[in-house]
Amino acid sequence: MSSLSSLSEALHGWSKRLRGGALMGTAALVVAITLLPIGYLIVRVIQGGTDAWSVLTRPGTVDVLLSTGALVVGVVLCAIAIGVPLAWLVTRTDLPGRRIVAVLAALPIVIPSYVAALALLGAFGPRGLLQQALAGPFGVERIPEIFGFPGALLALTLSTYPYVFLLCAAAMRSADPGLEEASRSLGRSARSTFFHVTLPMLRPAIGAASLLAVLYVLSDFGAVALMQYDSLTRAIYLQYLSLFDRTPAAVLGLVLVVLTALVLFAENRSHGGRTRFRVGPGAGRAPRRVPLGRWRTPALIFSWTMIGFFLFVPLAVLGYWLQRTLARSEPLEVAWNALGTSVAIAAAAAAVALLASLPVALVARRRRSGAGAFLERAAYTPNALPGIVIALALVFFAVRYGGPIYQTVILLLIAYVIRFLPQALAGSSTALQTINPRVEEAARSLGRRPLRVAATVTLPLARSGMLAGATLVFLSTLKELPATLLLRPIGFDTLATEVWKFTEVGAYSRAALPALLLIAVAAPFVWFLSGRRGAALGSPG
């Protein structure tokens, strides 16, 4: 009898450890799958040895790094120069129509960078609208080149300034007007107050938005590739296409990872400084609006020029080319098939990423320190891995070890899940952590077993947060370009690859429909998410 009871006790302890161990094991497996390809990439580069070193030190690499740096600096400066004044105008001045300006100025956020590039090329490229318009009456055959730096700068500015605008507008709205009033009451003029109080309060928001823009530009592939600008991602792609020796691509990929990691590290450090600016809840009053006076007209011209150039012009250009296609009644099925493929693969990626994020989120919730915290942090690593690097790593890995899944949708799906796991995890982990554990205990004490509690209490409560994370993955997958290009099976066309394919050969009219479909599918989801986590939307194409 006593041996029986001690056996049952031993079994009890064992099954409990087993349950905890199974969850931890699954979480560890997810994280391992996430990190494996990049680990393999590192191994390959190290094995490359002197070859790798010579790639790193050759003049071409330095040029690429300089080009990348120039583009990053240029885009960030432009995004700030456009985003900050717009944010100030709509939140702190009596600009007429500021509500509509606030909505329209944020809208380009739904335009992927390569669609922005398409629109710019369609307008200002060779055989673009401008050249056509000038060719008729004036016989102009050539207009200033848009390819290269100017094109990439414009396209990426379009895609990044909305983040600066949204973050700064949010900061200006929540800033305590009492601080500015205190400055005025201490004898400072309105101008001095703006520079010494208002602007410093914005510094964290501007900093965060700039870092977001830097990350966007570093990992963007579509815009630089279409604009034929030699930044890192394009160089990696071209090296990859050359096929003979893949070491250079791997080396450049790692350089990109290091750069991205440095930026993320800097962002992490900057969080410390941010709390300094976080003051009490404030007076709960709207800040007094600055009368623009004689500056009203210039402010209006500035706002509507930006909206016109970055929203109306691209949409009008796409609309024009679409109408050309429709007028010629060219076959449209291609785009419809691509739409179906895009939506299906994006939905699959969202579902798998959400499922994969759950064990990690559960482990992290149960153990805030030690293994749980480590796994969660490790699972966020793909944030530092641009899509093209993940694709490259997966190609290397699959060619060597994953024969059967190479050139299949499965490998593509794995790439998406790895790339966007952090977004799914942010959703599910946050959602789970906001649930009061007492609520689950209450369910237990009312006689429900753990699994029933999970189904009737935990899941319903975490659902909306998880849904937001999955939606984010859906959106990001929908517009993902570089990994799709490298990993898709033959004949697998998404809206993104259709836009890419036709734009690359200058067939703007045929690229317009998939581009507009992409925007039309994405827009409602962006709208759904914008209230929840505007800043988290930044993943480039």
Binding site: H12, V439, E441, A442, S445, L446, G447, R449
Partner: protein, 340 residues
Amino acid sequence: MSVITINGVSKSFGDVAAVDNAHLEVASGEIVALLGPSGCGKTTLLRLLAGFEEPDEGQISLNGQTVASAEKSVAPEERHVGMVFQDYALFPHLTMSENVGYGIPRAERELRVPAVLAVVGLCGLGERYPNELSGGQQQRVALARALAPGPKVILLDEPWSNIDPLLRTSMRDELARVLRAIGVTVVLVTHDREEAFSLADRIALMHDGEIVQSGVPEDLYHTPSTRWAAAFVGPANFVPGYVANGHVETPLGKFPLRTPHERAHVDVLIRPETLALEPDPGGSAQVVRREFRGHDVFYGLELDDGTALVSQRPSTESARLGDRVRLCAHEAPVTVFSST
């Protein structure tokens, strides 16, 4: 017969002993309060009873069945113990009716849910969601939810800490009425001595993880087992005294000892309401502080040797700030502690 038996239970979190060798028995239908300052381990003890924590040592029995020991632990869902959480922990995605019906079989819900809601006085609010109710209503739903499956034992964790102080007394009375009408066994955690006194049949006083004393409220108040307990359950004067022949001599007079004491030099516990005072220019004390509280007045007194005392008198009597007063303590048996 005792419904709950806690036998030598200990529980540590890291280096901190949250509960240390606790013993407690609770009889059927009894209301027992675990009273103590925050961090004393009372909530941990409650969670051990509910099954949310497992003891490192000792056993817990419910209805004669061992539910927790160092070797085994019965899952919370199999203990049939109702719990009302400090923050109520209502399911925010369910209506009141669904909250209450959560713990009972589907077939019984239609009849049972309205009946239980009626018991706690919440008829007609069943279709509302938790965020649409006041704090007091939420508490009643939490109680109804815990009562619905018909548990033998109900655990209440600081049930009034989130209730408006003005409503507390009436809610307390109502809760006591409901619980006694049902005849359920109750363990209640609180840091509020008045709450414990007015509601509990018995109080277990906890300090640093240990149950330092348990007994009826009167015993705890008048014969506390330690100086700390004496001060925690109410305002106290500790007056130096000298034990001789079953009595103790103090500057306030001579008192019979409640229990024999082996030491000669002691401190005598004199509760402020047993210390009367009368204005007298030749009195031994001076009024240095005076707090008018409506039904009574609190006096801060100072003897000529600097000893500070407090006295609580009905507000119909009156001494003014700065008055000299003569002190007179009730000559009832007193509790003494070894002087420090």
